[in-house]
Amino acid sequence: MNALAQPRKWEKVFWPVLASLVFLVIWHYAVRWTASNIFPSPLDVEKGVGELLGKGVLWGYIGDSLRRVATGFGISLILGVPIGLILGWYPAAAKVVNPTIQMVRPISPIAWIPLSILWFGVGDNAATFLIFMGSFFPIVVASMNGVRNVPSMFRRAGRNFGLKPAQQLARIVFPAALPQILVGLRISLGIAWLVVVAAEMTAVNSGLGYLVLDSRNSGKRYDLVVAAMLMIGVIGLILDFGIRRLETIKSVRWGFRSEG
């Protein structure tokens, strides 16, 4: 196959599927050859998924994890976008709070676990708080930078047409910054999904993260551990796919490089 040749339609599906099959085969034989009786083979995992679905806890756990992400990410979105817009709009305000933001931002959300349990106790609120801590700052920073990067030409055009500051924000700055805000939302949804698993390992007694740890603790069921991990991966992929759909809306598509 020539590097410049357009891949044919069947090739676009065929090669990725083949790659995952090869991966599964290597995994399968690696378990067989090492004669491991702890680490599960793909077939064990498949049975494990079946068992989880059969027991009916899985759907409940998925629902719990998604609910926590939705709450934590939702609060980040509702607070983060307006705060980011304001900070981008008033550079003086950004200068005042930016050092604080930049200092709190690199602290891993995991490091907040003890404080979250101290403040909220073991339960949903602690997990939601951790997700919020992980996803809030990327949204604020992306919105702030989005506003700052609005070409001055657009703002000047807005002033020229006689827009008042509030109209300027709504009709020029927000739509012009929206592609960058969406990038921030995508990144922070990814982080939220990472954080929920960690949070559920310590701060609550349900959810996919809890399932991973619980499967190991109650009888070293590594087939269920890997099955739960697989579910986490698949749902993460679906979430990312979902939020990427927003990038294809026509009024923001200009901000994204078009892919073949």
């Binding site: 070409p151 030409m153 657009f154 000047r156 055009a157 002033r159 020229n160 047409f161 006689g162 109209q167 009709r171 020029i172 739509p175 012009a176 929206l178 026509k250 009024s251 923001v252 598509r253 200009w254 901000g255």
Partner: protein
């Protein structure tokens, strides 16, 4: 001698227009890091109502600064700009500034862009105006298209349409065709003249292209390198459509080439 003659002609011709804009001894000094740079030096200029004036000068000479000052985006260090005898204190929807094609809003459709400044009008009137200007700039069939689906020339026409839709009495154009290829540029000049003749706006057009200025303008204001001063004003007394190989066209063009200090030989 010839310069004096030109000045008189320019002067007499200006009488034919009613004064629209008057820049009075404008100077502009930018200071940065304690260093100050004089960009404009004592510029006085009158532009008539309905006149098409080109500001011509080398890149970086300050002609864009002058245009921005006249449009109200910058305030001069000294002097003042008056339009309709009112001192300009800021931008105003009665005079629209047109950038290069990058100025169209990429998040709005062609219709959305043209209707952008029409938020005070009734829906009916807005629809009527949008339809009128879509037609005027030849974008029928692209009403629902987004700028990224348009060519450079179409984007530029869209920006002109967005400016005209609010029915301004003046347009400021800052090297509007600079990013277009040379064929599209020629077409756009013809389009602009057609629109200007249809809409009777006062136009101030900044360019560094001598040919462009002689093809378009009623009067070419030749500016010197920084700090910008007005070197000479040349009246282009050729009716439109202009024959760009006529002796008079070549004479005027070569006169400006000489004025700028370029021998007309490559």
């Amino acid at each position: 001698m010839s310069q004096a003659a030109t000045a008189t002609i320019a002067h007499t011709s200006r009488r034919a227009f009613q004064t629209k804009l008057r820049a009075e001894s404008i100077s502009m000094t930018f200071s940065r890091d304690g260093k100050s740079t004089d960009v404009l030096e004592n510029i006085s200029l009158e532009v008539g109502d309905g006149e098409f004036v080109c500001l011509l000068g080398p890149s970086g000479c300050g002609k864009s600064t002058l245009l921005n000052t006249m449009a109200g985006f910058l305030s001069p260090t000294k002097g003042e700009v008056r339009i309709d005898d009112e001192v300009v204190t800021g931008p105003d929807p009665r005079r629209i500034f047109v950038f290069q094609e990058r100025g169209v809003f990429p998040w709005l459709t062609v219709e959305g862009n043209i209707g952008f400044g029409l938020f005070k009008l009734s829906a009916e009137e807005k629809r009527r105006r949008i339809a009128h200007y879509v037609k005027l700039v030849g974008l029928q069939g692209f009403e629902k298209a987004y700028p990224q689906e348009l060519s450079g020339g179409m984007k530029q026409r869209l920006e002109v349409a967005r400016a005209l839709a609010v029915n301004p009495d003046m347009l400021f154009l800052d090297e509007p065709f600079g990013a277009l290829d040379s064929i599209t540029r020629l077409i756009m000049r013809r389009e602009l003249l057609r629109i200007w003749e249809a809409e009777k706006k006062t136009i101030i057009f900044v360019t560094h292209d001598i040919e462009e200025s002689v093809q378009l303008a009623d009067r070419v204001v030749v500016m010197s390198a920084r700090p910008a001063k007005i070197q000479r004003e040349v009246l282009i007394d050729i009716p439109h459509p202009r024959d760009i190989s006529s002796p008079r066209y070549l004479e005027l063009r070569d006169g400006i080439f000489e004025q700028i200090g370029l021998a007309h030989k490559v």
